[in-house]
Symmetry: C2
Subunit: 241 residues, 2 copies
């Protein structure tokens, strides 16, 4: 396997992905623990091939990390602070880490390339968390779903990026009806409501919420869901088309 071919990529430009999932009434983000350093967390990201569009790059990066095709994906903002560069003290750490990992693959030129100042384009993705099989990238130890409220301090401005993604999600969830991408095929109205509550961090009265969502005419009602609980069985719904 040959070394990293930096010539194939656009320099100083990267894509960072905020992958949203939903479980246990919590909105979660898939973040990665980096190999080097002890408590170094980061958003999954990657570079852009000279031969692909930035949207294609984002899809490819997402497929690499989640194994999923046809994910709902949206570009929300570019981040270009002049300080978006790995600090000199940390730079040595990276150099060491990469050298230890594979000295042939990561020569000094590549390391300079990787540690230069980057502008990044932020994309957020909405996935059915249960379908994702996280796959670690080269520099990563493992990937983890973390609730948006409990994120650790991440590298660079990645916390800020998640915050911006969350804000964009809030603005779009209602308007573009994209929330169903976070749920499994079939779901109950309560699950939709609790998803909305997780995203907006506030409560919605069930009756009005139901009326509103049904009024959109985007759900079809399937059978009932019998759970064995001693209460009326809720209907199951599916997103139309």
């Amino acid at each position: 396997m040959s070394g990293f071919q930096k010539e194939n990529y656009i320099p100083q430009l990267s894509i960072d992905c905020v992958i949203f999932g939903y479980k246990n009434n919590e909105l979660k983000v898939l973040i990665s623990k980096l190999r080097y350093g002890k408590e170094l967390w980061s958003l999954p990201g990657g570079y852009i091939l000279q031969t692909e569009s930035i949207d294609e790059a984002a899809s490819r990066i997402l497929k690499d990390r989640t194994g999923l095709d046809n994910i709902y994906l949206e570009q929300f903002k570019a981040f270009g602070g002049k300080d978006r560069i790995i600090g000199s003290e940390f730079r040595e750490l990276v150099r060491e880490g990469l050298h230890n990992f594979d000295p042939n693959r990561f020569d000094d030129e590549v390391i300079d390339w990787v540690t230069s100042r980057f502008v990044c384009i932020g994309y957020y993705a909405l996935v059915d968390l249960n379908k994702v099989e996280p796959r670690i990238g080269e520099f990563e130890e493992f990937l983890k779903w973390v609730s948006v409220g409990e994120l650790p301090k991440m590298t660079h401005d990645h916390n800020e990026i998640v915050a911006a993604a969350h804000k964009a999600l809030r603005q779009n969830l209602d308007e573009k009806l994209i929330g169903f991408n976070l749920l499994p095929e079939e779901f109950t109205m309560r699950e939709v409501k609790e998803l909305y509550e997780a995203v907006y961090d506030r409560e919605f009265p069930m009756n009005n919420f139901q009326k509103k969502i049904l009024g959109l005419n985007v759900l079809e009602r399937l059978g009932k869901k019998f759970t064995g609980a001693q209460n009326r069985a809720p209907y199951l719904y599916r997103f139309k088309r």
Copy 2:
């Protein structure tokens, strides 16, 4: 004067500005006629210094073109199609044009740099058209205010970029109360209404519009504006703070 120092800039990444102005009941965009080619129109843009943030770069580019500081400026989208590159046939034209312009300044390396594939970050700006003193850039013949409805075919995907900027403006005008950046210091309610009509391309009934805007509590009423017309003199307003 030395040649263009490409080392000072981030390669393959540019900023394009959609500068909105308002005059004669029309929403206008400042576009530039390029030197080479006969009917080559383009959005004003520029590159990002290694030492500045992308927001700073956008402000700098805008100041260069309009002479204005403290312009309302908003990043709205990044454009990264793989075809965002000057076609080979046109490339020769650029080479010629730049060489004729100043052979010392634009050597082949610089020309390769300039004509490589670019990802661009789109910003839109809102200015008081009367305050702008357009200043041409190096490759430009002149700048011109053109109504959004009458734009010529522009280079690359610049028409698409303007469309996206217009869409972003529509989404933000109401919510963020940014429209007043397009008007002079003092204005009548009718002018605000007509601005809104230009942006949204539809009519607003005057009475309800007035109620809505005044209800926002962001305007202070000044004196009246006597025009000599044989009707009641309208109030002048100013945006608070």
